[in-house]
Amino acid sequence: MAEIDRDKLLDIYTRTMKVNRTDEKFRELLMQGKVAVMYYCVRGQELVSAAAMAALEPQDYVVCTYRGQGEQTAKGIPMEKWWGECLGKATGTCKGKGGTMHITDPDTGIMVTTGVVGSGIPIANGLAMASQNNGDGRVTLVSFGDGAANIGGFHEAMNMAQLYKLPVVFLCQNNRYGEHTAYADHTDSPTIAERAAGYGMKGVRVDGNDVNAVYPAVKEAVDRARAGEGPTLVEAMCYRMMGHFFGSDFSYMPPEHIEEMKKEDPLPKLRKVMLERQFTEEELDKIVADIDAEIDAAVQHALDAPLPDTDEIYKDVLEEVN
């Protein structure tokens, strides 16, 4: 596999840190009691979503889950709009009517964020079907967790996507937990990727903590989809370093395993790769400082923003009745 070029590497680094710093900021605000909303932490999974988004073109579609902060910010939702939505403000992507679990921003290609495990997978097929029907050349990527690979819709959608050779990439972020249940307690097949074979589909499993593994795999899947060669199931192995949602008990996660997985933390690994590729500490730190400043401004904007009008509960229900 060819080495990732420097510009792309820098792009992935920037997106990864944007995801990470957003996550850190969210947890800080929650701990300080400045906001009180549901938040599904992405610590440990930053690289997978950032590398996947870097493999897409701006016009490509993305479907993600309630743990979708990584895809959303890495794909490029303007931060003020993103924070506005998470804080339930009128300035949010969805006027405060979606919230953290239902972020939609078609301008960025984030078409659906679903709060129902696995439900985005069949919807991604439809976006891809539309692209196939009208020949717009777009690829749809749907991100989901290992738990989602056990709902019926996953299997129906895999079969249908392969049948029609839809331009879709199924990205399973195997973070080792389906809500509070460990992988081994919800699935007996050794990998999710091998399930692809059951549908006649190409399936690959990669180290989601290694930029040199995850980016090329997703890129190849995106290229295949765009070339009309059909879907790919990419299973990126990663680790959800915290509980299912912020503040939830995670005593079911063995401490020794957490310690072991910390050694696989994608962030120091990525930094090491960057330094090996002759990026300097100063350059990398500057990127993070700039991101932090952007996030701080966006958070302040969202905190200061107005709440949606109460009338909004009657709007956007049905167009014809409004």
């Binding site: 969805c94 009517k97 249908m160």
Partner: protein
């Protein structure tokens, strides 16, 4: 003008819409030419005209069918998904209720979901418990969906065009026993607006509010009672949700009496909602309690005499009307 059946009416409406807009396409089990154009032939002949991408025969995968329709709609297309029988909607309720119905609202209006979900059902064809239910109340209870059912071929043509035009999800219920009904073809481009009821027969003594196949029973009963001096106004809702409250209330305010009638089981049915609304808004005009008739509260039985006994009978309709007007 020639007469057409309801099957032909639906086919013509879909064909027209597909010809006018490349974004309109059909998907569902057995819908394409290879399988004969749908089990009830509604999509017959469309594959030949528009190709297999626009008439997609799918695997038996209701969740994947509706999910794909939702996704395609978000991308700006207008899918018409067929769920072969209404009982199977249980398999894909998540996609309908959590996604199709809510994506416009939850996105703050950014992603409307213009899909039509065609489905068939009906009591009286011997299909038994898992192929016969009328489940419109399930959908009427969810904000963000239109629920439509025609009682005649002309309306079928017009309602289907409007359903495809609509920028929101529409559940389009086709009663199997109505497929063969004939009407004069209203012609190309004919539309019946969603949310607008028809006064199928004017009357002055009681308003009989119904939809779908039971409209036929209602009209027959109304005709018979006319001879006995009881004047029944028959309202065909056509759109069950959101329904045409204005027409219903105006009728009840005129007649002072109301009876709701549907094939779906009576408890928690749409008739209960309509009856409650009438009690609240027409109380000073009502001459008696609003009455309800619905199917028996059991699974639809197989044996034909049991199945016939399950359906609201014309005798029951007559009895309720006479009791209401004080002539029983």
């Amino acid at each position: 003008m020639a007469e057409i059946t309801m099957t032909q009416a639906l086919n013509l409406a879909i064909d027209e819409a597909m010809a006018e807009d490349d974004g309109v396409f059909c998907l569902g089990e057995d819908v394409s030419a290879k399988q004969g154009g749908g089990v009830f032939k509604v999509t017959a002949g469309l594959t030949e005209k528009y190709g297999e991408h626009r008439v997609r025969a799918t695997p038996i995968s209701e969740t994947a069918i509706v999910g794909a329709a939702v996704g395609a709609a978000l991308a700006g297309q207008r899918p018409i998904a067929e769920i072969m029988l209404m009982n199977f909607v249980g398999v894909c309720m998540d996609q309908i209720v959590n996604h199709a119905a809510k994506l416009r609202f939850m996105s703050g209006g950014q992603t409307p979901c213009p899909i039509v979900i065609r489905t068939t059902t009906g009591v009286g064809v011997g299909f038994g418990g898992q192929h016969s239910d009328m489940l419109e109340a399930w959908f009427a209870h969810v904000a963000g969906i239109h629920v439509v059912t025609p009682s005649n071929a002309a309306d079928a043509r017009g309602l289907m065009r409007s359903a495809i035009d609509a920028n929101d999800p529409v559940i389009f219920i086709e009663n199997i026993l109505c497929y063969g009904l004939k009407a004069e073809d209203p012609g190309k481009g004919y539309r019946v607006p969603l949310g607008k009821a028809a006064v199928a027969k004017e009357g002055s003594d009681i308003s009989l509010i119904t939809y779908g196949r039971t409209v036929l029973d209602a009209l027959e009963v109304a005709g018979e009672l006319e001879k006995e001096g009881i004047s029944v106004e028959v309202i065909d809702l056509r759109t069950i949700a959101p329904y045409d409250e204005e027409t219903v209330l105006a009728s009840v305010n005129k007649t002072g009496r109301a009876l709701t009638l549907h094939e779906a089981v009576r408890p928690f049915g749409t008739g209960a909602e309509i009856a409650a609304n009438i009690q609240e808004k027409c109380w000073d005009k009502l001459k008696g309690p609003v009455r309800r008739i619905g199917g028996t509260f059991s699974a639809v039985p197989f044996a034909s005499h049991l199945e016939q006994a399950w359906i609201p009978t014309k005798e029951e309709i007559v009895g309720q009307i006479k009791a209401s007007v004080g002539k029983d």
